[in-house]
Amino acid sequence: MTVTRTPATTPATSTPPAAPSRSSRRRRNAAGTYLLLMTLAVLFAGPFAWLVLAALKTKAEWVSIPTKILPETPQWGNFVQAFTEINFPAYLGNSLFLSFMFATIVTFSSAAVGFGFARLRGRGKRPLFVLVLATMMLPQILTLIPTYVLFARMGLVNTYWPWVMWALGASPFFVFLFRQFFAAIPAELEEAAIIDGCGYGRIFLQIFLPLSRPVLLTSFLLSFTWTWGDYIAPALFLDPDQTTLSVAIAAFYLDPHGNPDATVQAAAAAMYVVPVLVIFLFGQRYFIRGVVSSGVKG
C-alpha cells in the first residue's frame, strides 16, 4: 500500500499578523497616557500662562480685538510696578507668616484630634466624630460675621490671633484625614510602646507623628494654600498695613478714581502664585502619598 503523505493542511485564510509584542503594546499605552497627561497639563497650565502673558502686555494689547496672544514688546515694567506700587515685600511677609503659622498649628491640632478619634476609647466618640465631620457642611462665609462680632468683643480684630484660634480648633477635613491614617496603624505598635513605658502623648508625638509624614505634609500644604489664597477673612479682620497679599492685589492697584490696573494686577498675581507652586513642586510626592494612604481619593 502506498501511503501518500500529504503535507499538513494549510489554512485557507492567510496567516494572521503576528500579535503585537507586549513591549510595543506597553509603549502604545504609555504614549496614549502621556498624550492625555500632556493635554491635561496644557489645560491646567493654560490659565497661568495666560496670566503671565497678560502681565507682559500693554493696556491696549490687553483689550485688543482680535486677541493678541503674545505681547509685541514684553512689558517687564508691569512686574516692577507691581512690586513697587504697593509694599509688596511687606504683604508677602504677612501672607507667608499667616499661612505658615496657621498651617503648622492646624496640622498639629488636627493630628492630635485625629489621633484621639483613631486610638482612644471613650463614650460618644462615634457621634462626636460624625458631628465634627458634619461641620464640614457649614460654609465658612455663614459664620464669618458672628465670628467677627466675637473677636471684636475680645479685642482681637486686626491681630493674627483669630487664625491661631481657628487653627487650634483643628480642621474637620484634616481630622478625618489623620483619623483614617492613624486607624490603619497596627494596634501592636501602640501596645508595644505602652509596654515599653510610653504614655499616649509620647505614642502620638514619637511614634504616630513620625509615621504620618505624608499626611502631615498633605495637611500642611492644603492649609497653607488655603490661607495663602483666602481673601475674605483677611479683608474682614485685618487693616491695610497688616493684611495679606491676596487682599492687597485685589484692592490696592487702582488709579485715583478706583479703576483697576489690570496688567499690573496680573503681574502681581503671577508673582503671588509662585510660592505656592514652588511648595507644591517640592512636596508633591508626599502630598500624593498622603492623600492615597489616608484613603481619600478624588
Partner: protein, 452 residues
C-alpha cells in the same frame, strides 16, 4: 489594653523641646498682637478709625491731618461692605465711613448715621450755605430725601449720564460729532452708536457706545423715567411700577441697545468690566460717564487728549434731568466713639486741602460752591469740558431713593436678570417689566417690615 504609666522625669530632649516652644511663643505673640488698635493709642492720642478707599484717602493726606491734629492718630480701614456690616453688628463701627449720597436713605432711616446739622451750625469751614444742592441726597426727614438734617457730606460728584466721545472715530465713520451744548435723544444716540460700531467676522472691533452696564442699571433707567415725567416709586416709597409706559420705554431702550450689539452688556461684557480700557484703546466711540472721567486723560497721549470731548446727558422725553448716580462722600456712624474728632476730619477732608486738590485734579465736581472755580481748564479738552459741565449743572436733578431697598445694589441684579431674558427673546419687555415690578416690590415689602 495595658495602661500607660505616668512620666514625671524631665529628659534633656524634652527640656530643649519645651524651651524652643516657649521661646517661639514669646517671639510670635507680639507679632500676632502688635497690630491691635484700640480707641486710644499708647501715647494718649485718640485713635480715629476711618473706613475709606486707599486711592481716595492717601497716606500723605492722613499724615498731613495727623500733623495738623497732634491729638489724633488715624487707623485706616479699607472700605469693605462685609466688614462694615460686621463692625456695625458688633457695635464697634468706624468713626467715619465712605458712602454714597444716592442710596443713603436706608442707612439714615435705620438710624445708623449721625445728624450733622449741629456740627454744620458750629463749623466755620463747612456750613450748610457752602454745600451744593447735590448734598441734599444725604438729607432725610424721616419720610423722604432732600429734606431734614444732613447725615453725610459729599466728597465730589459727577452728573453720570453725560457722554464722552472720541472725535477721530466719528470722523473715520463720516459722522458729525455730538453737540457739546445740546443734548441728543436716546433714540438718536442708539442710531449713531449703531453706525459707529465696527464688526468683523462675528467680533466687535469697535463699539459705538458704552453705558457702563456692569456699574449701574438702576440709576440710568430711573433717569430715563424721570426725564419722561414718570416716577420710580409711589409717594410713600413702598412700591414701584416698571410697567408704566415711561418705565417700559426705558427698559426697551436697554433691550434694543443690547440686541444691536453696539456696546458691552452683561451678556457681552467688557474685558475688565469697565469701558475705560476700550475707550482708551479707541475701541469705543462714546462712553456714558460723568465729569470725573476726564481725570483719566490728563496723562494720556496728545492723540487722545486732542480728540476727546464731553457732551450733555442724553434725554428721553421733555424734562432735561442729569443727576449724579452716586455722589460718594462720608457719614459719621450714630454709634461712633469719637464723633467730634470725626467731624474735624470731615472738615479737613471735605473742605480742606484734599478737597482743593481733588477739585483741581478734575476727578470730580467739588461738592462746595466755593470750589467750582478750581476745576481745571488748562488743557483744551478741559476747557471744553468745563463749559459743557457748567451748563449741565443747571439740570442736576435728584434720583429717587427708598429707605426700604438698598438702591442700585438691590435693583441691579433684578434688572439685569430680566433684561437678559428680554434680550434673548425669552420674554417680552412688558413681561420683564412685570417681573421686575414683582421682585422689587417683594424686596420693598421685606424692607418695610424690617424698618417699620
Amino acid at each position: 489594653m495595658p495602661q500607660p504609666p505616668h512620666h514625671t522625669q524631665l529628659s534633656r530632649r524634652r527640656f530643649l523641646t519645651s524651651s524652643a516652644l516657649v521661646a517661639g511663643s514669646a517671639l510670635t505673640a507680639p507679632l500676632l498682637g502688635a497690630c491691635n488698635a484700640g480707641t486710644e493709642s499708647g501715647d494718649g492720642k485718640t485713635v480715629l478709625t476711618i473706613m475709606y478707599k486707599n486711592n481716595e484717602l492717601t497716606k500723605e493726606q492722613i499724615a498731613d491731618f495727623e500733623a495738623k491734629n497732634p491729638d489724633i492718630r488715624i487707623s485706616f480701614i479699607e472700605h469693605d461692605g462685609t466688614r462694615l456690616n460686621a463692625m456695625l453688628a458688633s457695635n464697634e463701627p468706624p468713626d467715619l465711613v465712605r458712602a454714597p449720597a444716592v442710596g443713603s436713605a436706608r442707612t439714615n432711616a435705620q438710624g445708623l448715621a449721625t445728624d450733622l446739622d449741629p456740627y454744620l451750625a458750629k463749623s466755620s469751614v463747612l456750613k450748610k450755605e457752602h454745600l451744593l444742592p447735590v448734598n441734599d441726597s444725604f438729607r432725610w426727614d424721616g419720610k423722604r430725601i432732600g429734606h431734614g438734617p444732613y447725615y453725610g457730606i459729599i466728597k465730589d460728584w459727577s452728573q453720570d449720564a453725560t457722554l464722552w466721545y472720541n472725535r477721530a472715530l466719528f470722523e473715520q465713520a463720516g459722522i458729525q460729532p455730538l453737540s457739546t451744548a445740546e443734548p441728543i435723544s436716546y433714540d438718536e444716540l442708539l442710531e449713531i452708536a449703531t453706525k459707529l460700531t465696527k464688526k468683523s467676522g462675528g467680533k466687535t472691533e469697535a463699539y459705538g457706545l458704552g453705558v457702563e452696564w456692569a456699574w449701574n442699571l438702576f440709576a440710568p433707567i430711573s433717569t430715563m423715567i424721570l426725564q419722561q415725567g414718570g416716577e420710580v416709586y409711589n409717594t410713600d416709597l413702598t412700591k414701584t411700577d416698571m410697567t408704566t409706559p415711561q418705565a417700559l420705554r426705558a427698559l426697551k431702550w436697554y433691550v434694543d441697545f443690547a440686541k444691536a450689539g453696539v456696546g458691552p452688556t452683561s451678556l457681552d461684557p467688557a474685558p475688565d468690566g469697565a469701558d475705560l480700557s476700550l475707550f482708551l484703546a479707541k475701541r469705543m466711540a462714546i462712553t456714558q460717564d460723568g465729569y470725573w472721567y476726564g481725570g483719566n486723560f490728563v496723562k494720556e497721549s496728545d492723540e487722545i487728549k486732542n480728540n476727546i470731548a464731553m457732551a450733555p446727558a442724553p434725554v428721553m422725553g421733555d424734562k432735561r434731568i442729569s443727576p449724579t448716580y452716586a455722589g460718594w462722600g462720608a457719614y459719621i456712624p450714630a454709634k461712633a466713639k469719637h464723633k467730634d474728632e470725626a467731624w474735624r476730619f470731615m472738615e479737613y477732608y471735605m473742605a480742606g486741602p484734599p478737597s482743593e486738590d481733588r477739585a483741581k485734579g478734575g476727578w470730580g465736581i467739588p461738592a462746595l460752591k466755593s470750589q467750582l472755580s478750581l476745576m481745571p481748564q488748562e488743557l483744551p479738552y478741559q476747557k471744553q469740558v468745563f463749559e459743557t459741565q457748567q451748563a449741565e449743572l443747571q439740570h442736576a436733578g435728584q434720583l429717587p431713593d427708598s429707605p426700604y431697598i438698598g438702591g442700585a445694589t438691590a435693583w441691579d441684579p433684578v434688572l439685569d436678570k430680566h433684561l437678559q431674558r428680554a434680550i434673548k427673546n425669552e420674554v417680552t419687555v412688558e413681561a420683564a417689566g412685570k417681573a421686575i415690578t414683582d421682585e422689587i416690590n417683594e424686596l420693598l415689602r421685606q424692607g418695610k417690615d424690617q424698618i417699620g
